[in-house]
Amino acid sequence: MQLDNLSRRLIERYQHNLPLCAEPWQAMADELGCSEAELLDCLQRLDAAGVLSRVGPVFEHSRAGASTLVALAVPPERLEQVAELVNRYPEVNHNYLREHDYNLWFVLTGPDRQTLQRCLRDIEGATGLLPLDLPMRRAYRIDLGFSLEGTP
């Protein structure tokens, strides 16, 4: 998607520190020098173009519940079937194909570690593949959104 000027400024300015007030879109519009209707229209266009996932909090995994990164080494001919099976679990998000023998990578999130362990056992049982369970030990840099500029 080609971003217009307002979209670019909105993305650069508001991947964090969204104003917390009854009329946040109005407050953001004031800051960016447009109307609330223009700002909402811009968000809706980003949404329709598939650029916007949502507007709101990104939860701190360690506070909000449990999460882990999981990898499976899926034989290429079973990839579609296994990816679809994995996607069905509500605990699964961000399921990607990556270039490695361990080629299917996804994040599990849930209210607690037990839920994730049950899910890992289910996936192992259903696929016959041994999942790598790689929970975060330490975060040196967490997701703060990303810049449209200065990326390779």
Binding site: V58, E60, T109, G110
Partner: protein, 168 residues
Amino acid sequence: MNQLDNSQQIELRRLLERGLPLTPRPYQHLAEQIGASEQAVLEQVRHWGEDGLFRRVGLVLHHRALGFRANAMLVMDIADERVDRIGEQLSRAPGINLCYQRPRRLPYWPFNLFCMVHGRERAAVQAHIAELLAQHDLSEVPHRLLFSTRAFKQRGGRFTATTEVAHG
């Protein structure tokens, strides 16, 4: 009533995980769904924010749709006594979006430091990472670059306990 009860808090978290409604009074809209006042919802969200429940609050984007299609996970095997120092260094390097330590799973998986680099072109990302490794004296460290070639699913985490069934 100014404070949310337990079930209202759970319901509010579940709604927040899906994002704010794009309506002029989003918190009013959420408040109506859980039978609370707008003020009580705002207070609760403010409290959670101060309490560290959120990493950030703002636009959450699908980077692939924005043209960031060359997305690499750089994984390295760094000696345990060095991993914190190297992790701190790389976390400040340009272009590194995430930097985490994770456990090795020997003999299957020897890598313990993970960095994400999002870019538009594969060659540029490769060159950028090679340069980063050289700058930090890490070129000789065992490492792999795992580009993502397809997204099967991309959405925020659902932490709040739920009884709903997956619909695929």
